[in-house]
Symmetry: D3
Subunit: 228 residues, 6 copies
């Protein structure tokens, strides 16, 4: 597994922020608190957590086109930002959050595989910091965060299950899985995909076990970064 | 599990077509063969299989807005069509397909839960028919289809694992999983998501076992529909 | 004239629906009732009837691109849906409809010429069924539908006026006309276009007379489908 | 009928141009010749004539939004520009035009009803001038223009057929028709629409006869403007 | 410097209008008054002046594509309309204008260099006329216009500072500058750009002095056109 | 003037990169080299330098919407990226660059005024590094960079000319100017705008002199960062 680093408070304006690195993959996660909710929640006394994801054009080995210039977000981008949002919502009590929305922006500064799992893992830190501020200011009475949440990619590479694939490993993996796990050892999301070869139940379980090990390390880093 | 029906050859122009029903969910799947490949594959002697997904505005309980009128496909639509494409590519040998592209259109005529899994299951039938025509005409020498592929949704509903959720069950499930399995009992894709409560490894495995039962029935229906 | 069939109630969710066939042309028409009107009508005590039109990508002989994926509706699509909406509004009393909107979706499942005229003819059936439900439930006191409305294409093909052109005839017609007629023998819309050769008043009248014959058959089929 | 004026050569860059006025309706029509054809015609030795239509935001009584700023052309705009293109193509021999495209831009400077019919009538003048230049320069050997083409709107207003409706009349007409006629008394296009009341064959014919009178005047003005 | 002409009241619907010509460059400027302000100003008792800019496709030597058809305004268009808006706001007292918005549309009918400076110069005339109407009608008690504003382009062409560049000069200038000056000899905006060669302070000042001479002529023409 | 820092080589994939800070304003600039030029330059033996600009949604005090999600770049964004591109092209000899394009991406990680001038100043560093690599590898024989280029904002704040405005100063400045200067004391671009009050020639010159001082410091920092 690659070295994980987290720099909480990387930017000054956001209510919470964290620059997370998994090896050469670096993602800036910011949490923005707004005292309003989307239309479908108005007047229900509940909050909302959502996420947006982006990648700087030259985060990658060769320059990709800028989504803002193309005029639309790719299917991949939308898929990832939906996953980040669901993962965070799985560990937040929306009633305790009250009628406010927290938007997590995950922007990939540099990419080397695992940008979606780094995003989820760093997003939790930004969210934790933003909510700690709301608790400190008295805007929130009770902590709406139920658990930690972290994510890691695993894959089957040359027949062997491996943890935390970088770009080169990911490109040649036979199967690719992303696990989103919670601090109490539960599963929030599994996405496992055959790339070159289908896989079986036993392999799926081996990947899940690897993921538990990886997420354990991330949970520790999250606690250290947030002083929890 | 709801009644499955498949009407191969539902439309006359497409090289392959199938109207698939899972209870009240009805999806029209068509396969269109084109003798050209996307730019990234030109000159490599390999083919491509891709999918597009859509839902008629009043396929659902209340009318949704038309994506063509809004001017963009939702993140959900893109996520689903990417899943369908990956699932089919997992069972096709692109070298044997040769430099041609097969586009599978999955259009939901009526929705009652499980539209993405019905789409994958019906798409295979449309693809099988289209490829049988290419084999019959001599355009293909060898069958590029390696296996059957089918998909089913499962979920944890009121604490109990259930198979093939309809819209009402799906809306209130604590966890929701889609399994894409192949005819030789392998896994092509797993997408399992906590909705109201996270879940554990044991529950994931129970859902996978249910999915095997469901896909078994779909495989039989596919063989009957295609005469294989 | 090709065989006309109408399957009322083809889908379960819409307030009214009809699958109409003119030979190989098949269009699914649904009517969706919403208890609100567009901004320009709010508070005026009047209703609105509007239509949207779409074609499945492989409804046609060769696959067309999906409008939702391209990000815009073609000029042809917009022209047709505007025509369908005007045709229905010509036979509805908006004051009697009250402040509600009925949206008719016409989606072409299979195309072989005459999709716009089949859409109008089937749309009336879906609208009739939806309004019958509103009358039956007591939501409407008086019937807002003033007349039947139906449409048929005619053209001059190899010098001869012909009724209900299929795709092959339409592609080679010298002139092409669509007539929208009402149950009391009036004209709601005429659209006649020279394709390869201009035409004269006498030819226009001959086409109109053919259209009267064709619409007579459609009116009968509509009455049978709706039990009126 | 309102006063018609035509100012040929209103702009200096276009190969042909004409500012046409029908009363307060003023449309600038320009013809641009390009020595290439759209992809579907390449290598066939035939030309193409197409049209685009626009309206300045404050051409109308109250300011409309700018289509370029909204990011799309309305259905009305597309319908009109398709009509202009068809009308011109009805009187041009594409083989004689050779592999070149002429684009007619019709931009409404001021609107008071009848902008589409003024556009067609002025477009012919711009086209005629542009083609005369091609003939004079020797780029064309034979004249590809077969006939004059002109258009006029008519309607039934307070029960009476009227010619050349201005904005006020048009807004309250029971029926509204646009006729595109050719110099040899033939019909290129009829679009007749019931607005408040359906109409019958007799009324349609009376409108057509009015249109013949109106187009007669426009043909004379076109001949004077182009010296033909 | 090229001949300047201004035709106030060129169109009938707009509250103010002016067709301005700088040689072959002709721009139609209209001012539209609306009794509402953008959201960020609501309830503040202040008004707003904004501008939109467009160019007819064949205003130029060769036809450009229509921005409405392309579905977006170019960066150049947006840059110019932002400049026009800023220039006008520099001479309007928004408190005296009250809660109303004036939109200036500058549409280039024919282009031969200097379209943005002609737009600003003509826009002031349209604005002046519209505000004079508001003053005459009693809707405004005090004149919100503080000063005249005009603009002119200058450049360094073959080493020599020149005033009011036409298209040919502009295309080959080493440096290109647009100055927006006010009636009391102040500067509202300077935009000076090196094209082929950078320039120095002395050259910038020589261009500014030329601009003062040019704007002096425009101010006189504005006063004559508006009777001030 | 705020503290300037430059971190060359901030990212690993780009041919050149620099994280530049002007106080709390931080912009990541990357240079991407591609061995192809835009269509208008093909076959001319010349290169091209262009720039794109973006701002992370929470770079600012309150979260702005993501341009990729909105589907278009704002006028401000386009204006800035056009300015960055022009500024760099003013100091590059395109013939010496040869048929290759260098794209500079300037992405604002944190904003506190002066993002466009920081972008230009950092972009030069990224460009310098990328070109040094091309020189070192032998791909380039001669250095195409003619001069350094840097930019700084100045303004009139409470009647006093000030250098390098932060967000608070910028928001309340009476006039705002951006100067792009070259290493040999020449001007590449001046953009000076009246915000609350117009200004005169004397003030413009005082701002230009301040800018010379500021750019002097930036030139020194650039030389240090690039070892030149």
């Amino acid at each position: 597994m690659r070295t994980i680093t987290m720099e909480p408070g990387f930017t000054v304006h956001a209510e919470g922020s964290c620059l997370i690195s998994f090896g050469d993959t670096r993602v800036l996660c910011t949490a923005s608190v707004e005292e309003r909710v989307p239309p479908f929640l108005r007047g229900k006394g509940e909050g909302w957590v959502t996420a947006e994801y982006g990648m700087l054009p030259r985060a990658t080995h060769t320059r990709g086109s800028r989504e803002a210039a193309k005029g639309k977000q790719s299917g991949r981008t939308q898929e990832i930002q939906r996953l980040i949002g669901r993962s965070l919502r799985a560990v937040v009590d929306m009633k305790k959050l009250g009628e406010r929305q927290i938007t997590i922006d995950c922007d990939v500064i540099q990419a080397d595989g695992g940008t979606r799992t780094a995003s989820i893992s760093g997003a939790w830190v930004a969210l934790r910091i933003a909510i700690d501020k709301l608790l400190a200011s008295g805007a929130l009475k009770e902590d709406p965060i139920i658990q930690q949440v972290a994510a890691i990619s695993c894959g089957i590479h040359q027949g062997t299950p491996v943890l935390d694939l970088d770009y080169i490993e990911d490109s040649s993996a036979e199967a690719d899985a992303n696990f989103v796990l919670t601090g109490d050892s539960k599963i929030a999301e599994v996405q496992a995909t055959a790339e070159g070869a289908t896989f079986d139940e036993e392999e799926l379980l081996r990947l899940l076990r690897l993921a538990r090990i990886g997420c354990g390390q991330i949970f520790a880093a999250q606690r250290q970064a947030t002083g929890r």
